[in-house]
Every structure is written in structure tokens, then in C-alpha cells.
């Protein structure tokens, strides 16, 4: 590929031919302020904020669409370029209400950032500002017209990515405003949450997040969306051990910059307060809370005594490490079927402008991981039924993560030993001999394997409830003490045991999965096709 060498702010930089000045400046660590340009959308060069001074050019050039040329001399941060930005920012503030104290974007607002770093200290406007008020766009989106900077990123997202052009600019001049057609709203778009993400100011805000927290109070934890098998990379935003919102994290191989509204809106369950916080064992007179040090050895004894067939119910919401530890334990005590139930949607919802991304049919993050571990999906598309054989078991019965919502109260009452591991209390598990608290995906680290068989890591965003432990730790300790081996000390160690067991994970190393995940080895049959 041919390259060009140019000078930006006195630094020489070599970039591939066709690179825009804005990206060339990024190479040397200079961020040219911009609104309308977004890497995933077309560049109309209309915000006029990314104007830079190019030597020899008759006028300032918009850096988002100007291609780097050999020998060009570009100035982004001094003289004319800076004066122009100061002027453009002053125009932006003519009608901007400056209601930062009550604006949800405050703290992550590009207008705030740019004006603070290079705008005028005091406004010179004397005329009253025009007022639009706010408009409900439907879905989770609220529009504050006064704050809008007319970058039209939202219009272009709906046009180019969602390919459902329901937004447009109406009127002209200072009366121009983003609007939907004839009060139709966003018409239940499945991707409308993304326009809130890409809005550089507080014009489009989320109703769900409205006034809930300030941007600077939120801790961001890299994670993976738990709501379908696409496994979109996300950041979990938490404050005071409460999840407040999910935001997409860029991963060009999985979700680009986007995530669907279905995944974005389903995080409340991570904040549920009805949790199992202590390990319980059934004694003669009722439930006992012997603590982990009491529960695990007595469970180990019971497991050693059990001779009947082994049945296990897993959950596709559990991490690979959890499922691997369950598989290992089941094989250690004699082997048996592991089944899982998960909800399935009737269809996929793809993002037309980025077809790799879709809300997948499987509404659990780790169905592929469960399949690779030889677990079978049972039951209907609403994650119910299918457990008749398991419920009738007279041997050992282990349930991990499945809340058994549709099961009768006497579920597993015929089992010789019934162990329930879960985060939330399950009424159907009242016949259990042991109820052990485990953490949710948001409280532990681990990996999910998505629909592309890509193994992706997530980090703990919350503190675990009470004495809950990750399931891989509980099950790993049990297997280890049954076998007389040391227990896995970390998720990484648990994953390396998994890698030794599953050929697809053979070459993977937990520490090298990184923030973006790594595709698992293709099974030989598929690899041969390539």
C-alpha cells in the first residue's frame, strides 16, 4: 500500500494514502475537535469544527474529509485553526442553553469539552436564545432541541446503519431542528439507543438514565452483553455498586460501535436484591447455614457416597469457567448428561448497515460455550419445560444457575442428593440438600463464547452479594478435593483446565484474550472449508 508523509503541527507523520487529515492527526496524538464526523458514518463536513489550516490551500479545510497529501503542512492547534474553532464554538453557543447543571450529558459532552479547552471565556450574545423544549422520540429516546448542535449524526445513523430513515432535519437556519415524520417517533426501532451514544451533546438522552447519575460518578467496567449470543462488547456503568446503564464498547469484529436496544435495556436483574447470600445445607430440623467451610466438606462426603446416576442442569448465562467446572465435577462423580434451557426469540434482528451485528435468536450469552462443552439444550423457546427426566432422577442432581421458574415445588425431591447453585432464590429448589450462592456474570470475571465462537472476557463490575462465590471456584474446589488436587485459584487457571478439555480452546490463553476477545480454533470440518 502506498503511503504519504506530511507534517502536522510540526510533526512528520506517514499514513496510508487516502487517510483523512483527522485520522492522520490522531496518529500523532492530536484530537481535532469534530461533531458531524463519526468513524462508522458518512462525513458531510457540515459542523465546520474540524477545520484545519493547510499551507497553500486557499481556505481552511475540513480535516474529516480532506485526504492527506504528500508533503502537506497542516496546523491544527495554532493561529488560524484555533481562531476558527473559537469562532465556530461561539456560533454554537448562540442558541445553546448552557443548562449543564441539569443536562445528563454533562461530564461527557463534547461541546462542554471543546468550549472549556478553547472557547471564549464569556459569551457576547445579548439576544434571547430560541427555545424548542423537549420532544419524546419514542423508545428510550428523549430529544432536547435547544441543546442540539445539528451534527446530524442521529439522522445519518438511522439512514445508513439502521436503514430506517425516521429522523430528518426540518426547517432551516436557526429554526432547524431534528424531528420525526408526523409525530411517528422512532417507530419501535431496535437500534435507537445508539443515537443517544453518538450524540456529542445532550440533545438525545436516554429516558431510562434520565437524571439518575452524573457521568463522572460512574465506574466503567469492560464486559460482554449477557442478553444474546452475539456477545456485544459493552461497558457496564456502575455507581455505588449499582448498575446504571450499559454502553457499547467498540469491537470491529463483533459489534462495531453499536448495540441493540434489547441488550441495552436488560440490566436491572443484575441489581436484584433478592439474593442467596449464604450457603445452606439441609439438616434434620431445617436449613442450616454452616458457612463455606462447613458446607463444602459435608457436600464432598455426600458426593462420595452417591452411587446413582448423575444429572445436571446448567445455564447458558454462566461463564465458560463455570460450565467447565460443572462438567469436570460431573465427570468426576461418574459422568452424566448436562442439559441447559435458554430463551429463544422467533427471529434475528440484524443491523442492516453492519450486518455482522444482530440481536441473535439465542437470548443467552454462552449457548455456544455450553454446546462446546457437550451440553444439550432442552425445553421450549421460552426456557421452560424439558426437565421431566431430570426431575425424576433418583441419583445426584446438580442445578447451576437455572431458576427453575416453571418447575413444581417437589422438583428433585426423589433425588438422593440435590445441589442447587444459584444467585437468586429458586422456590422450586426447596427439596435441595445444599443451596450454594454463586455470583452473577457482573460480579465475577470469566469468558463467554459468542455465536461466532469468539471467546471474550468480562470483568467484575459489582461486589458479590454476601458470601456468594463464583461457581467455577465452588465447583472447582469440590472436584479438586474429590480428586485430592489443588483447587483452581483464579479464573485464568480455571480457563486453562477448560482449554485442556475442549479442543476449540486448545491454543487460547486467558491472559491473551485481551479486551476484544479471540476467535476459538475452528473445528477441523469448518477449518477445512477455508
Amino acid at each position: 500500500m502506498s503511503t504519504v508523509t506530511l507534517t502536522i503541527d510540526g510533526h512528520r507523520v506517514t499514513v496510508p494514502e487516502g487517510t483523512s487529515l483527522l485520522h492522520a492527526a490522531e496518529e500523532i496524538g492530536v484530537e481535532v475537535p469534530h461533531y458531524c464526523y463519526h468513524p462508522a458514518l458518512s462525513a458531510p463536513a457540515q459542523c465546520r469544527l474540524c477545520l484545519v489550516d493547510v499551507e497553500g490551500a486557499p481556505k481552511p479545510m475540513p480535516s474529516c474529509v480532506t485526504q492527506a497529501q504528500e508533503g502537506q503542512v497542516v496546523r491544527t492547534d495554532q493561529g488560524l485553526a484555533r481562531e476558527m474553532r473559537k469562532g465556530v464554538l461561539e456560533f454554537y453557543l448562540i442558541n445553546h442553553p448552557l443548562d449543564c447543571p441539569i443536562c445528563d450529558q454533562s461530564g461527557e459532552c463534547k461541546l462542554q469539552d471543546y468550549v472549556h479547552s478553547e472557547g471564549r471565556a464569556h459569551g457576547r450574545g445579548v439576544e434571547p436564545k430560541r427555545v424548542f423544549g423537549r420532544d419524546d422520540f419514542g423508545g428510550d429516546v428523549l430529544f432536547y432541541g435547544d441543546r442540539c448542535v445539528m451534527c446530524t449524526r442521529c439522522v445519518r445513523f438511522m439512514e445508513e446503519m439502521a436503514q430506517d430513515p425516521v429522523l430528518t432535519v426540518v426547517e432551516r437556519g436557526d429554526r432547524a431542528v431534528i424531528d420525526t415524520f408526523f409525530e411517528q417517533g422512532l417507530k419501535d426501532s431496535s437500534w435507537s439507543g445508539n443515537i443517544v451514544d453518538i450524540c456529542p451533546v445532550g440533545a438525545l438522552v436516554s429516558k431510562d438514565f434520565l437524571h439518575k447519575a452524573r457521568a463522572w460518578d460512574l465506574d466503567h467496567t469492560p464486559s460482554v452483553c449477557p442478553n444474546c449470543s452475539q456477545g456485544c462488547n459493552i461497558d457496564i456503568h456502575t455507581r455505588d455498586n449499582v448498575v446504571h446503564r450499559l454502553k457499547p464498547r467498540e469491537n470491529p469484529e463483533v459489534n462495531g460501535h453499536w448495540m441493540c436496544d434489547y441488550g441495552r435495556g436488560r440490566y436491572e436483574w443484575t441489581n436484584r436484591s433478592d439474593r442467596i447470600t449464604e450457603p445452606f445445607a439441609r439438616g434434620d430440623g431445617g436449613w442450616l447455614a454452616p458457612g463455606w467451610h462447613g458446607a463444602l466438606p459435608s457436600l464432598q462426603e455426600r458426593l462420595e457416597d452417591c452411587r446413582g446416576p448423575v444429572h445436571a442442569v446448567a445455564s447458558a448465562h454462566a461463564s465458560n469457567e463455570d460450565l467447565g467446572a460443572l462438567r469436570e465435577l460431573v465427570e468426576r462423580i461418574g459422568g452424566g448428561d448436562i442439559v441447559y434451557r435458554s430463551a429463544r426469540a422467533s427471529d434475528e434482528v440484524p443491523l442492516p448497515g453492519f450486518p455482522m451485528l444482530a440481536r441473535r435468536r439465542d437470548l443467552a450469552p454462552n449457548t455456544r460455550g455450553a454446546e462446546l462443552l457437550g451440553m444439550h439444550r432442552v425445553g421450549g423457546d421460552d426456557a421452560s419445560g424439558g426437565l421431566d427426566k431430570v426431575a425424576a432422577s433418583t441419583g445426584t442432581l446438580i442445578v447451576l444457575g437455572d431458576e427453575l421458574a416453571d418447575q413444581p415445588e417437589d422438583f428433585g425431591s426423589r433425588a438422593e442428593l440435590f445441589v442447587y447453585l444459584g444467585a437468586h432464590p429458586a422456590p422450586a429448589a426447596r427439596s435441595a440438600h445444599f443451596v450454594l450462592p454463586v455470583t452473577t456474570f457482573a460480579e465475577q470475571e470469566g469468558t463467554f463464547t459468542n455465536v461466532q465462537t469468539r471467546v471474550q472476557r468480562f470483568e467484575p463490575a459489582l461486589r458479590g452479594a454476601g458470601n456468594a462465590q463464583p461457581a467455577w471456584q465452588v465447583l472447582g474446589a469440590l472436584t479438586a478435593s474429590l480428586a485430592g488436587e489443588p483447587a483452581p485459584a483464579s479464573a485464568a487457571e480455571s480457563f486453562s483446565r477448560l482449554a485442556a478439555r475442549v479442543p476449540e480452546y486448545e491454543d487460547l490463553d486467558y491472559d491473551q484474550l485481551g479486551a476484544q476477545g479471540v476467535p476459538a480454533n475452528r473445528p477441523a470440518a469448518i477449518a477445512g472449508e477455508r
Partner: protein, 166 residues
């Protein structure tokens, strides 16, 4: 090591007498008795005058219709060095952003006045007030209603007509 005895002589009477020191002290006392500049106050009958920039417990300003002026922008809990302000924002029925929970732990507070300084809507103020006795510790966590009920004068951290001290 041989034990040795150190002999200390008793000081002579002129130096060891307390009479001289007692008289010296009493002379100061009697001087104050006739001094016209009295410094003792009959508190609480005579209220104490506070310095104009005295920073005491907080007070929340209210609108004419009784709503708190606070817009729950979150700047005071952010700036507070003692981390004594707890704020949960929300939207009221008229679409205004307002504090659902606004609590100040006056025991944690170090009375720096930065909450007042940072407030964009002049809602929270430190007050010209120091009589805060309570029977329980819990009563020192002032909630929004309590802060709005306070009637004591607020502190002028700067001249309102010249906020930048120009």
C-alpha cells in the same frame, strides 16, 4: 558501679515563697475587675455576634412555591472534600430535575463552604449558625426537608455584587 548521692540544697526562703507569685496573679485579676472593657458575655441571653464569613451548618434555599432551588446537578457531592453529601436526582411532575434525596452529614462536614461556592443555582448555603445540639447522632444527618426548614442567615462567602472580587 558505686552508688553516689547528690545533695540538693533547699532554695532560700525569698525564692521558695509563693507569696510573690500569688500577689502578681491577683494583681492581674483585680486589674480586670476595674477594667471597663468587659469580655465575659451572658450567653445565651446575649447572643454572640458571628464573623461575616462564619461557616456553620447548611441551609437549602427554596422557591416561592416551596420547591427546593436545588437542580440535583451533582456538583456539591463532587466537590465536597469530606464526602458528606448524598444526592439522588430525579424528575418532578413538572419535568424539572430535582433532588429526590439530598442529605448532608454535618458530622462529616468540615465546613469549607465549597458546596455553596460551586452551586450554580445558589441553592445550598453554609449558615451563620452554630447552635446545633441534638440528643442523637442520627439527627446530624440533615435531609432535604430539614435543610429547607432552616431559618438562620446564610454566609456571604463573597460580595454578591462583585463575585469575582474585581
Amino acid at each position: 558501679m558505686a552508688i553516689s548521692v547528690k545533695v540538693i540544697r533547699r532554695p532560700e526562703a525569698a525564692r521558695s515563697s509563693y507569696l510573690r507569685a500569688a500577689l502578681k496573679g491577683m494583681s492581674l485579676t483585680f486589674r480586670h475587675m476595674v477594667n471597663p472593657r468587659k469580655v465575659t458575655r451572658s450567653y445565651p441571653e446575649e447572643p454572640t455576634e458571628l464573623h461575616p464569613r462564619w461557616r456553620g451548618t447548611h441551609r437549602m434555599e427554596v422557591h416561592a412555591d416551596g420547591r427546593p432551588k436545588c437542580v440535583a446537578c451533582g456538583l456539591c457531592p463532587t466537590v465536597c472534600p469530606a464526602n458528606c453529601i448524598r444526592l439522588v436526582g430525579g424528575e418532578d411532575d413538572q419535568g424539572n430535575r430535582y433532588p429526590i434525596v439530598y442529605e448532608i452529614d454535618e458530622f462529616r462536614c468540615i465546613f469549607c463552604g465549597m458546596c455553596q461556592e460551586v452551586c450554580p443555582v445558589e441553592a445550598i448555603h453554609v449558615g451563620q449558625h452554630f447552635e446545633n445540639a441534638e440528643y442523637t447522632r442520627e439527627r446530624f444527618v440533615y435531609d432535604l426537608d430539614r435543610l429547607m426548614e432552616q431559618e438562620h442567615p446564610v454566609t456571604a462567602l463573597w460580595d454578591p455584587s462583585d463575585p469575582a472580587s474585581e
